[in-house]
Amino acid sequence: MALKLRELTQTPELIACGHRACAGCLGVNAVRQVLHAVDRPVVTTSATGCLEVTTTIYPYTAWETPFIHSAFENVAATASGIEAALKVLGDEGSIPKKAKTIAFAGDGGTYDIGLQALSGALERGHDFLYVCYNNEAYMNTGIQRSGATPYGASTTTSPAGRASLGKTQRPKNLTDIVVAHNIPYVAQASPHNWRDLATKVKKAMDKEGPAFINILAPCHRGWRYPMEEGISISKMAVDTCVWPLFEVDEGEWKLSYNPRKKPAVADWLKRQRRFEHLFKSDDPAPLETIQQAVDADWLRLLGRCGEAPKADGNATAA
């Protein structure tokens, strides 16, 4: 039976209000949604980044769970140690056996500097959930490009300029990299679709072994859209198939959402000033390149999931 919002509202708030994330931050929103779907004792840990900085300013903490942050590149390794310790304590009966570890990191801490630790922890098969809140750049240090930053986005280290259209490389497909580890559960989620997100968290938490959820977390400071539009931006990322929702459950690919109407990616890009230079240019090639890449990825995903597109054909660049 589908999860009801009422059920989630009755679970305790594990990220207290009063934290210092920006108004309209979808990173902390994603974390809050994840924790609302958790129904067991958890130890949480995060990489260095916005999440840690905004939730733990000493002597305050927003965490109602036990929480540890240690460094940037190692959250999966820290989680490995926590998980090993929880197993020891669970086996001896001093804590509930179902207690589990959740690791949070942004795209910098996951796609880039933390990739080795993540890969190691997944390969070792620790029983934990890793959540990437992907805001597609190093937002905590001030919007620098990362391995998750999309092609054509202007960031402070890949600025658009007279000789550059912003980031000139495509983001790596981190979710695919995680799938290649053959772990029990991998999914992509988006904060606008709370039911899908919470259902995926519940599935992930019930697995024995590593689970990974990559959540798109639009950042209005970095993406440069009005702060109240984050949920609508994330919904449109999913509708345009820029950020498809799917899961790989015990190796089975399953599409979570197949849009009936697929807006052009350019319509989504246009709402974000990190792409504004693409629309000031006379050259349509970058927008076409972006649309083609999204279309190709979408078709490949549909194939893996054994689905056909619902929207008529592929949208074209506006």
Binding site: E52, T56, Y58, S70, A117
Partner: protein
């Protein structure tokens, strides 16, 4: 004659692994690096044979090893690891964090040069790179000391008034790969000595959730670091208690420094680690030749026992502090710097200089030490060292 089962022949690495098994850590993170590899292999065999119920996490790097151990320790269990050289260098960021979070992690370092050029043999440049990270550091001369330190480290780190990680150091290859005869305790004796570590405050206390690793800004950071520094300053008292208890159990008493023939010494050598054994032999020879020479072996390098060192050296007429690493660009090596600082805060500053030896596994022989002693004896007469830093055992003449 009845065979004494407590006397065994082990390499330094095997002695370290035995100590690690006997303190029964709940979680160990392991990653191979020469010359430590054999230690973790031996420990993995103990785990595979069911001799110890440790959750052995075989990580993908030393950075992750220290990170995993930090996670486990903060969750409220006994956690350990071991490493060498570049492995320790890769952990460096996490060493500060382990100490700053006051996590009672003990780690075994099998000392090796850091390069470049790459070299896998012993020197202390790895250990010296971590001297300011906030770890207690205990150096071993022998496999026996490596074993004993390995056991005491757990008690010291977990002492409620210390709560500071401890690094035990043995010399790569020289100690780690040579078989020595040592006395060991039974598993039960060690189990009783170290007890069980289940702290009240940890990440596994779900009734009182705690945040570890907050961001601390200028309004509190300095005060927290001052508390940490105070814990280090106060640690020797508690380290001494643990040593005393260990002496009652094992018959082996360890002090922060060991003095050899220092009572009437005019000339003093100061060393860390395995070279102390060779130095003692050389001192015996030179004593027979009428040179009043003695040795100060620093066993506890952090916190540095500056009062004891100053007291022991203040009556000498020449001091040669021997460093097995370089502090590039500094006036003298790391050990010499600490000895000099100790003397300055003491009563009297005798003529003192630094001798660098044994880099990258360069052998130091009894004859080398005799040469060092002869030169130091000259300094005792002239009062003037030839140079602030001398090199022992270079190819060809130093000059």
């Amino acid at each position: 004659m009845k065979r004494d089962s407590s006397r065994v022949a082990l390499t330094g690495n095997e002695a370290g692994a035995l100590a690690m098994k006997q303190v029964r850590p709940d979680v160990v993170a392991g990653y191979p690096i020469t010359p430590q590899t054999e230690l973790m292999q031996q420990f993995a065999k103990y785990v595979a044979d069911g001799d110890v119920a440790t959750d052995l996490v075989l990580v993908e790097s030393e950075h992750s090893a220290m990170s995993a151990v930090i996670g486990a320790s903060a969750t409220g269990v006994r956690a350990m690891t071991a490493t060498s050289a570049n492995g320790l260098a890769l952990m460096w960021e996490m060493l500060y964090i382990a100490a700053g979070y006051r996590l009672p992690i003990s780690t075994m370092l099998v000392s090796r040069s850091l390069g470049g050029p790459i070299n896998i043999h012993c020197d202390h440049s790895d250990a010296m790179g971590m001297r300011d990270t906030g770890w207690i550091m205990l150096f071993a001369e022998t496999a026996q000391e490596a074993y004993d330190n390995g056991i005491m480290a757990t008690r010291i780190a977990e002492h409620d008034s210390v709560r500071t990680p401890v690094m035990t150091v043995q010399d790569g290859f020289i100690t780690s790969h040579t078989t020595q005869v040592l006395s060991v305790l039974t598993d039960d004796q060690v189990t009783r000595f170290v007890g069980v570590y289940r702290p009240e405050r940890s990440l596994s206390n779900f009734e009182q959730p705690m945040t570890y690793g907050s961001i601390v800004l200028p309004d509190y950071y300095m005060d927290i670091k001052r508390q940490q520094a105070d814990a280090m300053v106060n640690a020797p008292r508690f380290i001494d208690q643990v040593s005393e208890e260990y002496a009652e159990l094992s018959g082996r008493r360890y002090d922060p420094i060991e003095l050899y023939r220092m009572d009437d010494a005019q000339v003093a050598l100061v060393v860390l680690g395995s070279a102390a054994g060779t130095a003692k032999d050389a001192i015996d020879i030179m004593r027979e030749r009428g040179v009043a020479v003695g040795l100060l072996k620093v066993r506890m390098f952090r916190p540095f026992p500056h009062v004891e060192v100053a007291e022991a050296l203040s009556r000498t007429r020449a001091i040669c502090v021997m460093d097995r690493s370089l502090a590039m660009g500094a006036p003298m090596g790391a050990l010499a710097q600490d000895v000099a600082t100790s003397l300055v805060t003491g009563r009297r500053v005798p003529p003192m200089y630094n001798a660098v030896y044994g880099l990258g596994g360069r052998d130091i022989t009894i004859e080398d030490f005799q040469g060092v002693i002869e030169e130091a004896a000259e300094v005792a007469v002239t009062g003037a060292p030839k140079a602030a830093v001398r090199y022992v055992g270079l190819r060809g003449n130093e000059e």
